[in-house]
Amino acid sequence: MIRFLIKGVFRDRHRYLFPLIIVSCGVLIMIFMLALINGYMDSFIRSNAGFETGHLKVVSRAYSDIIAQKPYDLSLLDIQSALDQWKKRYPQLEWTERIQLGALLDVPDATGETREQGEIIVYGIDLLKSGMERKLLNLDKALARGRIPSQPGEALVSEQALERLKLKIGDPVTLIGSDIYGSLAFHRLVISGTINFGAEALDRGALMADISDIRQMLDMPGGAAEILAFFKDGRYDQKEADRIKADFNQTFSDPRDEYSPVMLAMSDQNNMGYLMGIVHSMLGIFSFVFIVILGIVLWNSGLMNGIRRYGEFGVRLAVGESKKHIFGTLVLEAVAIGVVGSAIGILLGSLGCWYFNIHGMDVSVFTRNSTLFTQDIIYTYIPLHTALAGFIPGVLSTVLGAILAGLAVFKRQTSQLFKELEV
């Protein structure tokens, strides 16, 4: 019977074509939108993790209390042996040390007098020992001019800062700030290149130097304000991050010592947990609205189709089929159309996602004035299970439409349906 009915559906163009197009297009749009939101979220997480939060971050307890102020005077000092222990205990993580501070950048003229001066955010990162930061911050791609520092005493500066301070590659500059003991600190650097991340928050005014230079300037040998940890597979896993954080804090952190290390997950920092929650809610709302809209369209299509098929229903009632069975077959047809339509939509949507996953989508026009760490190019991304979940709204909306349309069969008197045979 089921084969008989399905055969009927796919032989009647009116019965399958319109719903199939609607479901396919709907699922395609949904898959693509989900991939875009996922891609945006992924880019957002990558940017924030890479530039700011890490997947996990270790700081001193005192530092964590006022983390937004980046109080490098509360840094962890002499951390190498502790870091070795952490690396051993959590082999799934990669670690990198950083110091971030706000400083004044002084640009001298030929006589050594100040020519230009401006505020700058200084990132002390590992530029010389390992290639991890180059990879994390995508420095090779972000390099606009010059080269990445190859020896101590060299620095990268953002393109906008370079222009604002009328700098040239090779110019000497002086960083002016205070060391961790509060004394005035100076450090001379040479600009080796410029960077442009496509993230407005960074591009406005950043300077990157090797962490050894910044340690020297701040008089904190072997210290780091923040130690960032990243999952080796590159993807943030909230559950695993929470598990590691709980284990770390139980094992290595002492609540009575404000200079003992404490681990924070990405979701604990910069409202990231809240933002990720919003995105997840948005995905849920988007899926729900999609189901409702598609359901209404398919209900209308089902009604039109139902009216066209009153004659058929009449014959089927006369032959001995019950209203309940006819209703059931309408739902079954909807399931078949939903499954096929969703499969087409998922396939086409995934192809679109694949294209933009490779080539990326330029959204710089929307992020130009953003203060968030977002990238100008979004690479759509959709996990397989999310793509396959496209079947749920695709089938659900067709079934919903069929149920609403099929209720008309119940509301009508049997003889009325029969009369509509126009006998």
């Binding site: 209203k323 003889s415 006998v423």
Partner: protein, 232 residues
């Protein structure tokens, strides 16, 4: 009449028309026996189709009793009336009402699928039915590829495939020319004789009336005559 398969007693059927109601059938009393070849005749609007609908349990009477094969129609549940139609009744319509997306074989097979008959038995029953109506060579054709007469013969095969006790035929020749009309009437008459299937027609076609053994005349919802014809 001994053991009638349809017994109608003081039956009336009214349809609401705004605030009042239209009485389509008025105090009808009729019995139909097994193997009858009977026609309900009368002008349009006389209540012929309404009477067939009530007998076919597609509609319920407003008052009175209608018993079909020992079952009181007004007391049947949805499932009960579906089962009655599925197992014991066959319908033939003026406009054939074949399912256009299915071929001839599948149209005839459909009632048997509802009866959950085994595939082998089903195949045999369908081919037998197509043989009765002389359409075995058209089994794979779609209704759109057939003439009106052939379509009506498929409809007869569909009604007869489950070997029902009673066939209700509503104006079965209205859309057919004389030659095709006579052909399908001959077919139905042969089936009636061979299988003792009862036929009740609603018609005002003289060609059909000539074939009937019993003619019940209905005017304005009332039975005005009930005559047996000899030599039909």
């Amino acid at each position: 009449m001994e053991d009638p398969i349809v017994r109608i007693k003081n039956m009336s059927k009214a349809f609401p028309t705004g605030e009042s109601e239209f009485l389509a059938l008025k105090n009808v009393n009729l019995d139909f026996g097994k193997g009858e070849f009977t026609g309900i005749v009368g002008p349009s609007g006389s209540g012929k189709t309404t009477l067939l609908n009530v007998i076919g349990s597609l509609d319920t009477p407003t008052s009175g009793e209608v018993e079909v094969l020992g079952l009181e129609v007004s007391q049947l549940s949805q499932k009960g009336s579906s089962e009655l139609r599925s197992r014991h009744l066959g319908f033939i319509f003026q406009t054939y009402n074949l399912l256009p997306v299915y071929d001839v074989y599948e149209n005839v097979e459909f009632p048997l699928l509802l009866l959950k008959m085994a595939p082998n038995e089903r195949r045999k029953a369908v081919m037998d039915a197509l043989e009765w109506v002389g359409l075995t060579d058209k089994a794979q054709s779609r209704p759109a590829q057939l003439s009106g007469g052939q379509c009506q013969r498929v409809a007869i095969a569909r009604a007869m495939v489950k070997k029902p006790t009673l066939v209700l035929a509503d104006e079965p020749t209205a859309n057919l020319d004389t030659e095709n009309s006579l052909h399908i009437l001959d077919t139905m008459q042969k089936i009636n004789a061979a299988l003792s299937t009862s036929f009740i027609f609603a018609t005002h076609d003289q060609k059909v009336i000539n074939y009937l053994h019993r003619v019940i005349k209905l005017i304005d919802g009332k039975v005005v005559s009930d005559d047996t014809q000899t030599g039909a």
